[in-house]
Symmetry: C2
Subunit: 344 residues, 2 copies
């Protein structure tokens, strides 16, 4: 902390500062001074210098030093913005780990880490451009700025993009149009006459397309317009508030498609508070395979991306890219999953 802020502090710096050799410093840092029988006074002086100079070990150097030449070490990264549905990320992680475990062997190890970036600041992640952090990455939950960055540069290692179309990378995508269409069909077949779609006010590419396709389908099949309700944010509370306002204003609604899980949860509360029954008065459709949808009251019918399939594709692609490098980018579309439950 004290003074070494601008000049880099290395074991060498400390050694000179104390008047000992770098190896003595190294020994103390690893708590091996006993077996090396360093003089306690020396140890103390070194410790003091370490603290005073604010020494931070260089991890890359240590790793290189510790490296066992018999094993290949693969560094995999899952890169996601903070504004992410964690549960999807954790599924990706689990799947990556499963496949990595299956391939781990004598001369092969995998390290997998999740790295979060602030939306729009992917370019600032260190080591991305010079390939000094990962052997392969999965990129997801990007915003347009990040996409522009990616599109403008071809990273020289394995990259799979989840949920975006970028011409120079392998991409795995859901089909938001089809999702919206199917959601509309389910509601319309259930004799819904005044469909509503509940979205966050800030639409992502994906949620926008879902809502759009929903409305288009309603228009095509009935000639009427679906009502659009925009929640301020992504939380259940936002969803509840928005739908409450809609219902409170006496506007019609006998069928609802909520484009995210959390909004559906909030919608349930608003509907019940308004004294309406699900699905009798208002049928509700949410998005795909939420782990708790079965325990909503009533259980929630879902149309949305089949995340497990998506994740599987992503991970398969990543490993493929890492072994056969420089293949032509592909786009993989995964059709939606539909789970019918009691709410529609």
């Amino acid at each position: 902390m004290a003074r070494g802020e601008k000049r880099p502090v290395t074991v060498h710096t400390i050694a000179k500062h104390v008047g000992v050799s770098p190896s003595a410093v190294s020994t103390v840092l690893a708590n091996r001074h006993e077996e090396r029988r360093l003089a306690p006074a020396t140890v103390e002086k070194i410790r003091a210098a370490v603290r005073e100079l604010g020494y931070v070990p260089n991890i890359a150097a240590r790793r290189l030093r510790a490296h066992d030449p018999e094993v290949h070490h693969h560094e995999l990264g899952i890169l996601t913005s903070f504004e992410a549905p964690v549960f999807l990320v954790s599924r990706v992680l689990r799947q990556v780990q499963r496949l990595a475990d299956a391939r781990t062997g004598a001369g092969r190890r995998y390290s997998i880490s999740i790295e979060m970036f602030h939306a729009g600041r992917l370019r600032a992640m260190p080591g991305l451009l010079n390939a000094s952090r990962f052997n392969g990455v999965i990129v997801t939950n990007t915003v347009p700025e990040d996409d522009a960055f990616l599109a403008g540069t071809t990273l020289p290692y394995a990259v799979v993009v989840l949920g975006r179309r970028l011409p120079n990378y392998c991409c795995v995508l859901d089909t938001p149009g089809e999702i919206g269409r199917k959601a509309a069909e389910i509601l319309l077949k259930g004799d819904c006459r005044s469909p509503v779609v509940l979205t966050p006010a800030l639409l992502t590419q994906s949620t926008a397309e879902r809502a759009e396709a929903f409305c288009a389908t309603v228009r095509a099949e009935t000639g009427r317009e679906a009502a659009r309700v925009a929640a301020l944010g992504f939380t259940p509370a936002n969803g509840a508030e928005a739908l409450r306002a809609h219902l409170g204003a006496g506007r019609r609604c006998d069928g609802l498609y909520a484009v995210t899980d959390s909004l559906a949860l909030g919608a349930y509360q608003a509907i019940k508070d308004a004294g309406r029954r699900i699905p009798k008065d208002i049928a509700v459709v949410g998005v795909g395979d939420h782990e708790h949808a079965d325990f909503f009251d009533p259980p929630l019918t879902c149309v949305g991306p089949s995340n497990d399939t998506i994740v599987e594709q992503v991970v398969t692609q990543l490993f493929y890219l890492m072994t056969h490098r420089r293949v032509k980018p592909v786009e993989i579309f995964v059709p939606p999953s539909v789970v019918r439950r009691a709410s529609a």
Copy 2:
């Protein structure tokens, strides 16, 4: 893939194999052969060799090479087993990132990554013992085997343990005894006469203590024994099944403490299916500050660890340890949070 499995493959290996110099190989790997005007034939031969020999770049070496001596790079790790409630981990991550961002400056960068290990296999995580991966770590969701490993060795860098007591490390803990006691008090004050505690069959130290304290409090206050219902696993489905069996057998229950969120969710379904009302027939208490507890139907009263406070303590400790190294281990206990809602 093909043959280089046992002998380590480096740029040097490839260079020799093709009959060029390491620098040529390096240039091709970084896609810089254009500006260096390598012969296209050479480039192709190098590419072929790279593929054939299954070359994997050594990330540590690249990092060391790319290292800018003007900035200190801090590697922070959040180490958690797979059997983890992701949402807690993601809170830790957010908080760490927040504090790291605040400290990031000219000569200072932080990288934060989540690393998952298989329960009981923490010792197998590479680079833990020789300090070649992290400058500081937060360890959580360990099982006894992992704890034994940690207790037996003092890692020579900043370590904060979340949710376990280990004599040689800084630990931050909730107070499961107090949690169980408060849960019991809430139910008993609500005139509950036949309390039940719902737990997973496989108890962690923490869930066991919560259940134990709950039963002890019931015993002390009423002289009766609380019934214990064990669910096969941790999911809502497990919880629903277990409680359904209990209620179906005609056994009494007018107050329930579920020691995890998911079990509470399942319990709701079982209770409603049995035609009972919450809280009129059966009052329900869940654990701390679940983000969706407000949207349970009815909203769920919670007694549990106050995760935000815990996370704050953990992260504060970590940064403290990194700047003032080798301080005496401390134990920090964070009292439970109580949020009263409609379910009890």
